[in-house]
Structure formats: structure tokens, C-alpha cells
Symmetry: C2
Subunit: 450 residues, 2 copies
């Protein structure tokens, strides 16, 4: 029952870094990571993929990257399936009246405008939902608990996130009139976590599906443990808006030797619509951009660093796939991505292949001064740079961030500027800059990872 947020701060990882107020605005320059996060979240705000706000963010990004000296910042558009949030409310009326803090999952279907009502059936895990017979939940609302706990490396998001990704189609198959899940988040506040459910399928109407906050899920679980019958009401009226336009913003910090394939560093420009997207992923764009500038501060690098501020990552990783398609014919040396908040880098994953081991060892050695350990030689890249890396079998470097508190705020109304720790944000920039400096001045070929 006791799951205070404050427990997290007791971890050596967090206490090791001093925590203090952000530097005053006067001392910030436009290329500082904190400045980029502050301005993107306050000059643009929320920027859901495929909306006018995401288009405003692209214009903002082009102007900022240009002002920072990046060459030819450009927008590359692509089509996506649009989706917009509607009314969102849910409550229980028995055994006690209680409003639930709820939000629709991305690409959720809608209830009728008046909502649906019925018995809420409690499932402790997704497997428990899977186990009931098809059609057994007719007229009922399925609730899947499946609680996710904080870890430094974010393990569990795959397993427990399945309730969000697979839950809607499974609950539909069981006949449920709506699905509610415990938020895929590690916080203990009444902030529900959205997130994409499944890609839209032609001609199929998905089930109305929402996430409720952890304290609400705790109450539902307690009532279920007490053996009480629960009656719930759910109104979720999001709508599909047809084919709409999203886009990537791409810019180059030009290297001195154009014959060398560039280093691709990615993040995503879009955010969920519930907040201003400070940690997800204004921080990532700020880190890769500020680090590229910092790495070349003492002299132009040999290799070009290309920044990819991808569009529509949240609603199904469209931007990364569009980049891979558009740039499949161009060489790339290595890819990196920042898309897990702004807390410190604690580990490096170097998926670079045997041929690049001397370079990998050099990077690992350099990062030791930041207290960073070398993890297994595996790296994911992420949704934005992953598709091109897979297509071209590229070397990938993951600078793993401390995720202990990342999933407290991830995809919630609480992804706001105050969640950024400027000291940890700057540690990211310093670490990234150190890596980019080594890579950027590596004139010998960087082989595919194989």
C-alpha cells in the first residue's frame, strides 16, 4: 500500500547528484539544453502527431536549428492516420460512488456519447483476461490491473505495457463494452498514462479503452479484494480524423570531410496531447542538439552530425519509418537516440560489431569518468533511428538513462518542465558531447554492426 514517490529519492543514483533550481534565464543561451526544453514547451506546448500544434513545432524547430547554425534545416512530411481525444470520464457507482481519473489510449475507439455502464470485472493480469472465454464479458467493462514497478533500466515496460497494446483487442474478443487498465506507470498520483494501443486497421473499429490512475486502480483492486461487486460507467469519445500530415525535421552540423558518412542522432518532436512533453521528448531533442554544438565547440568535427527531430513517434513510430524510407540510399556511420527523459546516463550499450571494437573500447573508456559502465554489447537505438539502423545494419550506441522516475511522468498530464532536473540534463549533454567528439573525429571507416 505504501508506495511513496519519495522512496525513489533515497536511491544513491539520485542523491549522488545535487538538486537545485535551474539557472536563471539570463545565463542561458539558445543552444543550452534547458533553454531548448523551456522554449519548446512554452512557445509551442503540446504537439500531438498530425495536428496543427505539431506543424507549429516543426516551424519552431526549423527556426531554432537555423539560429543555432545548423545547415539547411528542412521538413520532410509524411501522412499518418489522425486521431483526437474527445470527452473522457469514468466512475464507479457501486459499492461507493467514486470518480476515476481516466484518459483514452492512443487510437482507442469511442463509446457512445452517453457512455457505457455495467459490471466492472477485475483481472489482476493480462493473462487472467486472456483466460476467459470469448464473448464472456458481453455488456461488461473489463479492468486489467497488471501493475508495473520502477527499475533503473525500465525493465517491465515491455511485459506490463502489453495490457495497453494487446488489451483492447483481447477485451473486444471477450465481448467487453469497454476496457480500463491500470496506467502503465510507476507513480502514485491521479495522473493517468496514455500511450498508443495498436495501429489502426482499415475497416475495424477498436474498443473504447482507457487507463486509470494508479490510486484509482488501487481502490478498484481493494474493492475487488474485499469481494465487492463493482459497477462502472465509462465515456470516451475520441475520433479518427482521417489521413493527416506529420513530418520530420532534419538538420546537419556540417563536418570538415563530406566524404565521411554522417552520425545520425535522433529524438522526437511530437508529444502526447495531455502535457507539454518536457521529458518526452523535448529533453531528447535538447540533449542531442546541445551535445552536437558542444562537441564541435573547440573545432569543427570531421564528420557531419545529422539531427533528426522525428514526427509522430508516439502514435506509432511513423517518423522513424519515414526517415528510413526517404534516406535508405544514403550512407550513415552510426546512429544514436535520446528518448527516455532527462535523468542521468548510467550505462552505455555499444552494438558496434567486432570490427569497431577498438572504437567501442575508446568510447567506454572515455565514459568511465562520468561513472558510466559498459553494458552488454546491445543497443536498441529507438523508434526514430531504429528503422534506418535495421535497414542498413548500422552500428548503434545507446546512452542508457536512469529510468527510476521516468515512468512516473511518462505519457501523463505531468510531463511538464518542472520534471526536468537541469543538473542531470546537463550530464546527458556532457556525456553525449564526449561520445560525439570521438565519433565525429573518427576518420577511419565505421563498419556496419553486422
Amino acid at each position: 500500500m505504501r508506495k511513496t514517490l519519495c522512496l525513489l529519492a533515497a536511491s544513491a543514483a539520485l542523491l549522488a547528484l545535487p538538486v537545485h533550481a535551474a539557472p536563471a534565464g539570463a545565463t542561458m543561451t539558445a543552444g543550452d539544453a534547458l533553454s531548448i526544453v523551456t522554449d519548446l514547451t512554452s512557445d509551442v506546448g503540446q504537439r500531438l502527431g498530425g495536428t496543427a500544434r505539431e506543424a507549429a513545432a516543426r516551424d519552431w524547430a526549423v527556426a531554432r536549428l537555423k539560429a543555432l547554425g545548423f545547415a539547411t534545416p528542412r521538413i520532410e512530411t509524411f501522412p499518418i492516420t489522425g486521431w483526437e481525444r474527445g470527452e473522457e470520464k469514468a466512475s464507479i457507482s457501486a459499492p461507493i460512488p467514486h470518480k476515476l481519473a481516466v484518459t483514452a489510449l492512443g487510437y482507442s475507439g469511442a463509446t457512445p456519447p452517453e457512455g457505457v455502464s455495467g459490471e466492472l470485472v477485475y483481472f489482476p493480469t493480462l493473462d487472467a483476461l486472456k483466460a476467459v472465454a470469448d464473448g464472456a464479458l458481453k455488456g461488461k467493462i473489463a479492468f486489467v490491473d497488471h501493475a508495473f514497478k520502477a527499475t533503473q533500466d525500465g525493465a517491465g515496460y515491455g511485459l506490463f505495457g502489453a495490457a495497453r497494446r494487446q488489451g483492447p483487442s483481447i477485451a473486444a474478443q471477450k465481448g467487453a463494452s469497454a476496457l480500463l487498465i491500470r496506467s502503465i506507470g510507476t507513480d502514485h498520483i491521479r495522473s493517468p498514462h496514455t500511450g498508443v494501443s495498436q495501429a489502426p486497421q482499415q475497416g475495424k473499429t477498436p474498443l473504447a479503452s482507457g487507463a486509470v490512475s494508479n490510486p484509482d486502480a488501487d481502490l478498484i483492486a481493494l474493492l475487488a479484494r474485499k469481494g465487492k461487486a463493482i459497477t462502472a460507467q465509462v465515456t470516451l469519445t475520441p475520433r479518427f480524423t482521417g489521413q493527416v500530415t506529420s513530418g520530420n525535421v532534419i538538420a546537419d552540423l556540417v563536418g570538415s570531410d563530406p566524404s565521411l558518412p554522417p552520425i545520425l542522432v535522433g529524438c522526437h518532436l511530437d508529444s502526447w496531447d495531455l502535457a507539454t512533453g518536457a521529458i518526452d521528448d523535448a529533453a531528447g531533442c535538447a540533449i542531442v542538439t546541445a551535445a552536437a554544438l558542444q562537441a564541435s565547440k573547440e573545432g569543427q568535427l570531421a564528420r557531419t552530425i545529422r539531427v533528426l527531430w522525428a514526427g509522430t513517434e508516439e502514435m506509432g513510430a511513423y517518423g522513424g519509418r519515414a526517415y528510413a524510407q526517404a534516406h535508405a540510399g544514403e550512407p550513415h556511420a552510426v546512429v544514436m537516440e535520446s528518448d527516455t527523459g532527462a535523468d542521468r546516463v548510467f550505462r552505455v550499450g555499444l552494438q558496434m560489431g567486432a570490427a569497431n571494437e577498438p572504437l567501442a573500447a575508446k568510447i567506454a573508456s572515455e565514459l568511465a569518468r562520468f561513472g558510466i559502465t559498459r553494458g552488454p554489447n546491445e543497443a536498441e537505438g529507438g523508434a526514430d533511428v531504429g528503422p534506418i539502423a535495421e535497414k542498413q545494419k548500422l552500428a548503434v550506441i545507446d546512452l542508457n538513462q536512469d529510468l527510476t522516475r521516468y515512468f512516473d511522468w511518462h505519457h501523463t498530464p505531468d510531463d511538464t518542465l518542472d520534471k526536468i532536473d537541469p543538473v542531470q540534463l546537463q550530464q546527458n549533454v556532457d556525456v553525449w558531447a564526449a561520445v560525439l567528439k570521438i565519433l565525429g573525429n573518427t576518420r577511419t571507416p565505421i563498419a556496419p554492426a553486422g
Copy 2:
């Protein structure tokens, strides 16, 4: 800018206590404090003063106190002015579109159903609002910042709470169409803090007034600092429901000598309507009740302990005044109250007068084993026992709780069971029981405090 919740946990006060999961339900008994909080918040839930849910809470309380062996649990009703929350939404539309997490202040007036819209005028403090000319804000929405920071003893709630208590009438005088204030709270999440504004006045329609969450207030402050003109929309439609019934629940743990005046221990049964009222004040009722039982576990005390679970504290301290009026003719020995959450007691305030100094010293000496220091010889009692104490000039003892994180959750949708730390809750019970044992077995007269 960096104001993480987790900073709090670094305080020695909190780290000094081990933090772990609540005991399993099976090991709890009905008189355990955690059991009382768990059941009141899940068997009844929210219980705003004067509503059917508060009436349900009274019935629940009578049954529980009876089951725990208290004599003649009884309900004493009194009338209050009823008020119910309506629609609550606010947003800014310029310079960027952004939804604000907002909630109406208690006894707020209403906007028209379609809301009000206009320029938002930023005031860094309440004094800044006071300084503008009457009528100057016609057609505008006033925003008062006035940020409140966490302290162990809660200092600042008086000063900064003035924005909530006096703000609406001042903003009305200035001609504003609505008032928004930064939540009177120390958190950094999008959970707005309600709280009573002013007592309703016959024939006067108060200004529509709401509190926005701290991250939203941060964004507004940042936009104001950037010199941006802000346009806002506010829809708040609470309504006054006329004269309704609230009530106190009173019960006695009978002492062996009925000639001795009883010890009165208070808390309040009502809660705000936004959450289940775990820390405010199910915890207080749980502490005073569990402590009374624990103090008499090894033998009946000489004095009776009377528990007062007061009604309608939140909406204007009606319950405490009703008790003082109904029981003005009865003697009381000493009063105590628990209404500041469930975190540990760190200090004792003994307002007992010179005549009771030997008793006060004995209590202070006993509490040293809990690491509790003796503060100034001042005590407030609180809204529930304060009025009778004032009327009868009674001795008052305050067991001051650590308020470092109390105002994170106070009056918000986040006042839920998971915010209770069972270890600190039990420390309260142990401390209270130690004091009640001494007082309950004091057969010599306890003098008025003078």
C-alpha cells in the same frame, strides 16, 4: 524550476523512518489506525460536508466505534450552507493553447454556463492584486501566483493561503470576471488544491474562483516573464444547495472515575469531494481512536476519553463550533486534535498553564523517547476542538506532525490511501497513546490553561 517531489525524501526526518509496504490485511484488526483509514476511504470514499456521503460516513463511524467498544456513539446534527461542485475547466488560448488543471474553491461562485473569457492579468502576489485600482480588471481574469513552499511546521499556509481566503473578494472588488490562483500547495504535479474561500454571506454572490495546479501556474508565470499577452477561458459552475444537514459523531471510552472531567480528542470525518480524504482527515480519526484503545489496553483509564469525529470542518469549521455550543455546560479536562495528516510527530506544544506544569513536564519527558522535542508552550488545538477550548479556557496539547509533504496532497484529488505511510501512522498512535495514558491516569485536577 527544478522542484522535484523527491527532494523531500532526502530530509533526515523521512529517511529516519523505514518505508515499507503496509501490513497485509490479515494481520490488521478493526481498531488499527491503518484499518480505520483503509475502510473509511474504501467503504465510504469522499464525504463532503452536508452531503449524503457525509451522512453515510456518520453511519459508518457509529457502527465502527460501537464495534470497537466505545460507549454510546451518537450523532449530533447541525445545519450548514450546502455547496456542490459543477463543471470545472480552464485553459489558455494565447500565446499557446494549453488546458489548465483547475478546481473551484469551496463556496466559489459560478461563471455563466458557457464560461468567461478574456485577458489573464498576472499578479505575482496577493499584495500586487490589492494594489490595482477598484474596477481596473473589468472583463479580465485575475491570476494570483503567491507560491507556497514546504516547511516542517507548515509555516506559510497562513500567509500564502490568504490568496484563497481573501483573493476572491479582492478580485471581485477590482472588477475581475473570475479569479484563478496558484494552488496553495507544495507539490509539482497537475493536481489542483481546493479549500474554502470565505463563509457564504446572505444576499452576496461570490466571484467564480479556482485554483490551478503548480505546473500550470509555472507555465503562466513563465509566459508572463516572457512578456506574452495571455488569453484565458474559465468555466466553473458550482452551486449553493441551501441549508443542509451535517453532524458530529461523538463516543466515549469510559473511564473508571466518572467524576473526573473527560479528555476530548478530535478529528474530522468530512473530506473534500475530490478524493477519498485519507490524510485529511481519515488519518486523524484513525490516530485518536486507535490511540485511545491502545492507551487503555493494559487497563481501564481513570478518565473518560471522548472522541469527536467532527462534521464539516473543511467548508468552514461548522462541527467544532456546533460541539462547543452543544457541550458548553459540560466539563472537559484537556483537548487534543489530529488534523495534519499521518506523518510522524516531531514536536509537542503544551499550552497548559503554570498550574499544570508538572503534568506538562511529565508528558514532555515521556515523549523524549520518540525523539520529540518540547516546543513553545503554545497549542492551537484545531478547528474541531478549538472552539470548546476557547470557550472553557482549556489546557490544549498539540502533537505537531511533520508537514514537509502534507501540503503536497492537501485538498487535492491525490488525498488517497497510498499517501499514508503505515510506519509513521503507527508512530502517531504510539505517541498519542503515551500521552493519553498519562492524562487518563491523572486523578489530580487538570486546571484550565488560563
